[in-house]
Structures are given as C-alpha cells and as structure tokens.
Amino acid sequence: MNGGLVAATRPARAVKAVVLLVCCAIVIVPFIGIVATSLSTRDEVVRSGGFVMFPSKITFGAYQAILSGGVVTRATVVSVAVTGVGTLISLVSTSLLSYGLSRSRSTLHKPLLMLVLFALLFTPGIIPSYLVVKTLGLYDSYWSLILPVAINAFNVIVLRAFFMELPREIVDSARIDGAGDFAILWRIVLPMSKAVLAVIGLFYAVGYWNSFFTPLLYLQDNAKWPLQLVLRTYVVNQTNLGVDQLGGIGGAQLPPEQALEMAILVLSIIPILLVYPFVQRHFSRGVLIGAVKG
C-alpha cells in the first residue's frame, strides 16, 4: 500500500488516529444531535434547553406534523419535482452536448468547443441573469429554477473527456455493423459511461436540491418555495411554525418548535444521505478523469 514510505512510529500513529477521529466526530456529532432532537418529546426538549443529544423516549410527532400537508409538505413536493425534472434535463443535454463535441474532426467542432470552454471562465452577473430570466418570462415560474442552471460547462468537459477515452475499436466495429451516430451514443457510449453519468447526475441533483440562490432570486410567490427557502425562514431565521403552516395538526398536540425545525432539517438531508453511498464509490474515478487528465 504505502510503497516506500518509512513506517510511522507508535506515538505518531496514535496522534494520527486521534486527529482523524476528531475530524470524523466533528462531522458526525451534529447529525446525531439533529436527528435526536427531531425525535424528542416536548418534556425532553424543555428540560434540555433546546437541543437533545440522547433522547430517552422517541416520538415521530414532528414528522407527522410537517408532512401532513402545509408549508413543509408543499415545499418538499416542489423540491422533489424540480430536482427530478432538472436532473433529467441536465443529464440529457449534457450527455448530448458532450457526445456532439467528442470527435475532434467533426464539423463546427472548434467553435462549439470554444463556446463551452469560455463559459468556464466567467459566471454571468447576478443582475444580468435576473434581467434575462425576466425577459424570457421565466420569472416566478418553476422553470427559472431549472433552465438557467441546467447545463454546467465543467460537467460537459468532464463527460466529453470520458467519451473520448472510450475504446475506439468498439465504436468502429459498431459502425461497420451499420450503427449510426445516434445508435452508437444510445447503445454503446452511454451504457459504457454509467459510473461517470451517476456522478455527474449526483452533482446536478444535489445542485438542484440545495439551490437557494435561484429560488431567492427568481421566485416571488411564497407558495412556490422549495425546501431550502422554507429552511431559511423557519429554521435559520426561527420564524415560528404555527398551526397555519402545518396541515391539520391542532394547537395542543403541536410538537415542540425545536423538534419541528430539526425534522425539517433531517427531511432536507435524507435524500442526500440516501443517494450518497451508491455514488460515492465512483467519485475518485468519475471526478478525476476530467480534472486531472484534462
């Protein structure tokens, strides 16, 4: 494994272990606390002064309250839909564009590639982007959360590099068998690129799920808020979630505010935790191809 590195001394190894343990704890402990608080009863939240690390009794009341209709439920639906549709559009347009740019002798190859490369160098300003979205009539529509960020030039370059690395012989033999350019993309190139597509898809999906800037900039109507804006209002700014914001749950049974807030937080983290393990093992492969080889 460690070819050639001189072995560490025993105390050095102990120090290393401690440092890494502390780093991991700093990441993990907050998660435990958040989940624990979201599952706590009113008594326990009051007794602990707000934040519970080890609840003695568990209740799912907070989750029932936020998911039984109302602000949070609606925002969750919006976030899921925007993420799903957006990721699909992003993956399709990115794969197509990368494939279109993957043969360096094709017509128009140079100018099109230049368009993509230059896009890496600058981000359009906040004000001009806003004006474009307004001009196109996308303001206050869900499309404003998808189309302006649908394609990321960097992902195009990474995927293109991957496509260009695929073994030529397979593509050539398919062509001899009479496959056209589209059939080659659909039946050979894409199936051979599943891992890198998974990673790029994760990047896009996480981008849509987490985006705060686009909805803040382009949405006016509170009813269209995705989860991140709900989080900002009710968790970060601590606006109280009352009966009006929760569907159907009456005042007396209302779970403690703190548990509600943490439940929203958990709700917004869960999808990421679910997808992460499946894609994580591809990271070093998928990310690095474009980045290191360039």
Partner: protein
C-alpha cells in the same frame, strides 16, 4: 452559485486533441456541406446544450449594458438613457458601503487562502499515510459528506451547535460556565464563515490531492529512504513536490474567485450580524440591485467584479508559466 460542481474541482487543462478519429472521412477535402451532413447527428446533439449556454451564460453579458445606463424596469433596457460611467462612481469615489463590501470580501479571501487552502493538503497527506484501505475509505466517506449539504443546512447546523441556545452553550450553562456568543457576534463573523467553509469543504477538497499522491512513483520514496530520509523529509522532498502542479492549479482558480464569496453562505446570516461585518461584493450587488432597485450601480459593481476575476486568472496563469508550471491552460 451554479448547480453542479463544487469550488474544489478543477477546470480542465488544455483539451487533448485525439488522434484522427472519424473512420468515414470520405476524402481529405470533402466539401463543408458534405461534412455537415455527415456530422448532422453530432451537431444536432450539441444544439440543446449550446442553446442553454448561449441563453443563460452568454446572453446575460449583453445585460451588462445597464451598467452604463440609468435603467428603469418600466421603460426597459433599450429605452433607458445612457449615462456613461456615472454608475461606476461608487467604485471611483470610494463609496463607504462599497468599500466596506470590498474590504470584507478581501479579508475573507485572505483567510480562505491562508487558513482554508492548506488544511486539505495536510488532511490528504494524513489519509494517504493510512495503511488500512478500509479505514481510509470510511474516513473519506465521512469527510466528503458535508460537501453535499446546502449552505442553509450547514448554517442551521452551526446554529444548533454553537448558537446561544445551541449544544455548546447549553453544555456550558449546565456546568455553570460562561456562555459564548458566536453566531450573532459581528466581530467573529469572518472566523465563523471560515469555520463553516472548513467544515463543509475541507474533506472534499482532499480528493484531488489524494489522487495526485497516489500517482507518485513508490520508487522515489524507496530511494529517499535508502538515502536516509525519515518520514518528514520524505513528505517534504517527495510528497509535496508531487502535489505542486495540483496546488498551483487550485490556487490560480481560488485567486480568480478572490472577489466572489459565497452569496448563499452570507445572505442567510446577514440578519444576525448586520451588514457592516457581513456585506461582501455579491451581497452588495444583490442588496443594492434586486432589493433596493439601484440597478445601474449594482450591475456596474458586478461587471467590474467579473472582469477583475477573469484578469486575475490570466495573470496568475502567466505567473505560473514563468515558474515553469502548467497552470490551468497553456498558451
């Protein structure tokens, strides 16, 4: 700000031109139309993506004209009167609010380069030295995770841990100790955001360094060991030189972002600490333009910011070339 890729990833270097590829090239000098027809699928495939880029990346560049206009939304961009450089007055005359935003941005950038930038390098060396692949993989999985959480989530987590009613202060209070106000303290704000960046991205940023370390030829380590190098000297004379080109690359990109600091990270926290401590250029543009309707000034500041960012990348890359490094592209 844009969906997709994290700051920590790297822009591509020079694009590699592949060897002659197209098996069906009819004649070396096929007419342009013939070739267009031959490549129609490829070109059509590029259309949606190129269209999106033109519409949302290039078309907004035109919108920058309002930096030179007295823009009124009701009149429209074309009809609004030209005003020359009036909108740039805040920059040239040193408007206090602008200078405050600029100063905050630069201080945060300095902290980023001095504190945040080296941490992943150390962490990568540490991970690289782990003998057990399994432990290494587990630690990596844990440390990469926060990168995928949104800023709002990270901010909420920091509030829960360090806030006045958070985990740490509850603990201090329970043990009869003084509580420490961190989240709403303007003096600590820049350190707080630096800590947040570390928590979120220090782990993820190791990914490129670890890859570079794994490509170092083991015989170099063996040779240095035979020459009597200890662990530290091996790190210094073999590992770090092996990381140099990645470090330079990332540093150039970081410098290009000098004037950009996480809009998504700052905006949600401005309420707690006030504009004085927390305004950065991006929030200045947003607050002045979108919120207060001073479109011209906001666009002017945004434009200058964008241009300076591109210029820094070119200059830094040039400097890297002088030092014999590859940089992010070659001319």
């Amino acid at each position: 700000m844009r969906a997709g890729l994290p700051q920590a990833t790297v822009a591509p270097g020079p694009v590699r031109e592949a060897t002659p590829e197209h098996p069906r090239v009819p004649t070396p000098r096929a007419s342009w139309w013939r070739r267009l027809l031959r490549d129609k699928v490829l070109i059509l495939a590029a259309v949606p993506g190129i269209g999106l880029l033109l519409l949302f990346q290039y078309f907004p560049l035109l919108g920058n004209v309002i930096a030179f206009k007295d823009y009124e939304p009701f009149i429209g961009i074309l009809q609004s009167p030209w005003v020359g450089l009036t909108n740039f007055a805040v920059i040239f005359d040193g408007d206090p609010a602008f200078l405050n935003a600029l100063g905050n941005t630069l201080i945060i950038t300095l902290l980023q380069v001095l504190v945040v930038f080296p941490v992943p390098i150390g962490l990568a060396l540490l991970l690289d030295s782990l003998v057990s692949e399994r432990i290494k993989r587990i630690v990596q999985s844990v440390l990469y995770l926060p990168h995928f959480l949104s800023w709002i989530i990270v901010i909420a987590i920091f509030q829960q841990m360090l806030g006045d009613a958070g985990f740490m202060n509850n603990f201090l209070r329970d043990h009869g100790l003084h509580t420490i106000s961190i989240i709403s303290n303007p003096d600590l704000f820049k350190l707080l955001v630096t800590g947040q960046v570390l928590w979120k991205d220090a782990g993820w940023a190791t990914i490129l360094f670890i890859a570079a370390l794994s490509r170092i030829d083991p015989t170099l380590y063996e040779a240095s060991a035979i020459d009597g190098a200890g662990r530290w000297r091996q790190r210094w004379h073999v590992s770090l030189p092996g990381l140099r080109s990645v470090i330079v690359l990332l540093l150039i990109l970081r410098l290009g972002q000098s004037l950009t600091f996480g809009f998504e990270q700052i905006i949600p926290q401005q309420q707690a600490v006030g504009v004085g401590a927390s305004e950065v250029l991006d929030t200045y543009v947003f607050n002045n333009g979108i919120i207060d309707g001073d479109w011209g000034t906001a666009a002017a500041v945004g434009l200058v910011k964008g241009v300076v960012g591109v210029v820094i990348v070119f200059v830094a890359n040039k400097v890297a070339h002088w030092f014999g490094e590859q940089g992010i592209y070659q001319s």
